[in-house]
C-alpha cells in the first residue's frame, strides 16, 4: 500500500468518524430538547392536576354551600336595616315567608357563586398554562439552531479528513478508498440555513430516535 493510498484511507476514516460524531451530537440535541419539552409538559400536568379538584363535584358542593350561606347572611343583614321610619304592622306570615324565600334565593344564588368561582379558577389556570406554553414554544424555536449546530459540529474534523485524503490524491473518490464509512459527511457550504437538515448519506438512514 502506497503512502498516498494510506493517506486516502485515513482521510476517509476521519470524515466517517466526523459524520458519526455529528449524528451523536444531533441525537444529544434532540434528547435535550425532548427533555426540556417533557419538563414543560410535566409542569403543565402538575399544574393541571393541582387545580383539577377545584372543578370537581365535591368542590362544587362546597362552593354552592358557601355561596348560599354568604348570601343568606347578607339578605338577613339587609332586611334588618329599617327602610322607613314608620313601618306597618304585618302578620307573622311575612317573616316566615321571607325566611323561606331568603333560603330559596340563597340556595339558588349559591349555584351562581360556584359557576363564577369556576370561571375565575379557569382563568387562573389558563394563565399559568399560557406562560408554560410560551416558554415551551420559545425553547422549541431554539431547537432548529441547536440541531444545525450539532449537524455541523464536526465540520472542522471533516475538513481535516479531506485534507488528509487530498494528500493521497483521492480526496474526491470515497467509494474506492476502502474506508469502512464509505461516504462523505454532511458538511454544507457555509452557513446555508436552507439545507439545515441535509443529513448526508448516512445520517437520516440510520438515525435512531431515542425513546423516553
Amino acid at each position: 500500500m502506497s503512502v498516498g493510498s494510506a493517506a486516502g484511507i485515513v482521510g476517509q476514516d476521519i470524515q466517517g468518524w466526523a459524520s458519526v460524531l455529528d449524528k451523536w451530537a444531533m441525537q444529544d440535541a434532540y434528547a435535550n430538547q425532548i427533555g426540556l419539552q417533557q419538563g414543560y409538559s410535566n409542569q403543565a400536568l402538575g399544574n393541571f392536576n393541582t387545580n383539577l379538584p377545584q372543578f370537581g363535584a365535591d368542590a362544587a358542593r362546597q362552593q354552592i354551600g358557601t355561596g348560599a350561606t354568604d348570601r343568606l347572611a347578607q339578605y338577613q343583614k339587609t332586611q334588618q336595616v329599617p327602610l322607613s321610619p314608620t313601618g306597618q304592622k304585618t302578620s307573622g306570615m311575612v317573616p316566615a315567608s321571607l325566611n323561606v324565600t331568603n333560603r330559596a334565593a340563597a340556595n339558588y344564588g349559591g349555584y351562581g357563586n360556584w359557576l363564577f368561582n369556576e370561571g375565575q379558577n379557569q382563568i387562573g389556570q389558563q394563565r399559568l398554562l399560557n406562560q408554560i406554553v410560551s416558554f415551551a414554544k420559545g425553547q422549541a424555536n431554539v431547537f432548529p439552531y441547536t440541531m444545525y449546530e450539532a449537524q455541523h459540529s464536526m465540520d472542522a474534523l471533516t475538513d481535516f479528513g479531506k485534507a488528509i485524503s487530498s494528500l493521497g490524491g483521492s480526496g474526491g473518490a470515497p467509494a474506492s478508498s476502502g474506508s469502512p464509512f464509505g461516504g462523505s459527511s454532511q458538511q454544507s457550504n457555509g452557513n446555508d440555513f436552507g439545507v439545515m437538515y441535509n443529513s448526508g448519506t448516512q445520517a437520516g438512514t440510520d438515525y435512531i430516535i431515542p425513546s423516553y
Binding site: 460524531l21 451530537a25 348570601r71 347578607q74 339578605y75 339587609t78 332586611q79 336595616v81 327602610l83 322607613s84 314608620t86 313601618g87 306597618q88 304592622k89 304585618t90 302578620s91 306570615m93 311575612v94 315567608s97 321571607l98 324565600t101 331568603n102 334565593a105 344564588g109 351562581g112 357563586n113 363564577f116 370561571g119 375565575q120 382563568i123 389558563q126 394563565r127 399560557n130 406562560q131 410560551s134 416558554f135 420559545g138 425553547q139 424555536n141 431554539v142 439552531y145 441547536t146 444545525y148 449546530e149 455541523h152 459540529s153 464536526m154 465540520d155 472542522a156 474534523l157 475538513d159 481535516f160 452557513n191
Partner: protein, 202 residues
C-alpha cells in the same frame, strides 16, 4: 460547537445566541408577570365586597323612597275607602312587606352581580396585559399599561338607577281597584234597573 470545532475555527454560535435570546425573553416575561400581578394586587375579595356594599348603599335609599311612596299610596287609598282596619288592609300590608323583603334580596343579588361583573372585567384586562407581555416581552411597557388599566378600574363609575321594585304590587293593587269599581258600577246599575236603592260604601 465541539471542542475540535472551537479549536480549529469555530464560527457563529447561532444556537447559543438563540438560547440566550430565549432566556432573556423568559426572564422578561417572568419579570413582567410579577409587575402586572403587582399592579392588579389591589383587586382583592375585600375590594369586590366593598363594591357590592357600595351598590347596596346606593340602591337602598332609592328602594326606601319607593317603599314610602307605595306605603303612602296604599294607606291613603285604604283610608279613603274606610278599609284601614280590615282584612284587605292586612293583606295589603303583608304584600307590601313581602315585596320589600324581596326587594332587599334583589339589592344584595344585584350588588353581588355587579361585583362579579367588575371582577370579570378586571380579570379579562389582566389577561390582555399578560397576552401583550408574551408578545412584546417588554416588562417596562407591561408595567405602564397594567398600572394604567388597573387605575382605570378604581375610578368610581355610576350605578344604573334602581327601577321601581313596587310597580308590580301597585299595578296589581290598582287593577284590583279598577275591577272592584267596575263591579260596584255594575251592581249599582243592576240595582237601579231592578228598582232597588243602591247600597252605599260598596
Amino acid at each position: 460547537m465541539s471542542f475540535i470545532g472551537d479549536l480549529i475555527g469555530g464560527g457563529n454560535d447561532y444556537a447559543a445566541q438563540a438560547a440566550q435570546q430565549e432566556a432573556t425573553r423568559q426572564k422578561n416575561i417572568t419579570t413582567g408577570t410579577t409587575v402586572i400581578n403587582n399592579a392588579f394586587a389591589g383587586f382583592t375579595p375585600e375590594f369586590y365586597q366593598n363594591y357590592a356594599n357600595a351598590y347596596g348603599d346606593f340602591a337602598r335609599p332609592q328602594v326606601a323612597q319607593q317603599y314610602k311612596q307605595t306605603k303612602d299610596a296604599i294607606g291613603f287609598d285604604l283610608a279613603n275607602r274606610g278599609l284601614s282596619r280590615s282584612g284587605t288592609a292586612n293583606s295589603q300590608w303583608d304584600n307590601l312587606a313581602t315585596t320589600m323583603g324581596q326587594a332587599q334580596q334583589g339589592i344584595v343579588d344585584t350588588g353581588i352581580q355587579q361585583a362579579q361583573g367588575l371582577q370579570n372585567q378586571v380579570q379579562q384586562s389582566e389577561n390582555q396585559e399578560l397576552s401583550n407581555l408574551y408578545t412584546s416581552a417588554d416588562p417596562a411597557q407591561a408595567a405602564s399599561q397594567a398600572t394604567a388599566t388597573a387605575a382605570s378600574f378604581k375610578t368610581p363609575s355610576a350605578f344604573p338607577a334602581v327601577a321601581n321594585v313596587f310597580s308590580t304590587l301597585l299595578n296589581q293593587y290598582y287593577t284590583n281597584q279598577l275591577v272592584n269599581s267596575y263591579s260596584q258600577t255594575n251592581n249599582t246599575i243592576a240595582q237601579l234597573l231592578s228598582g232597588q236603592q243602591p247600597q252605599e260604601g260598596l
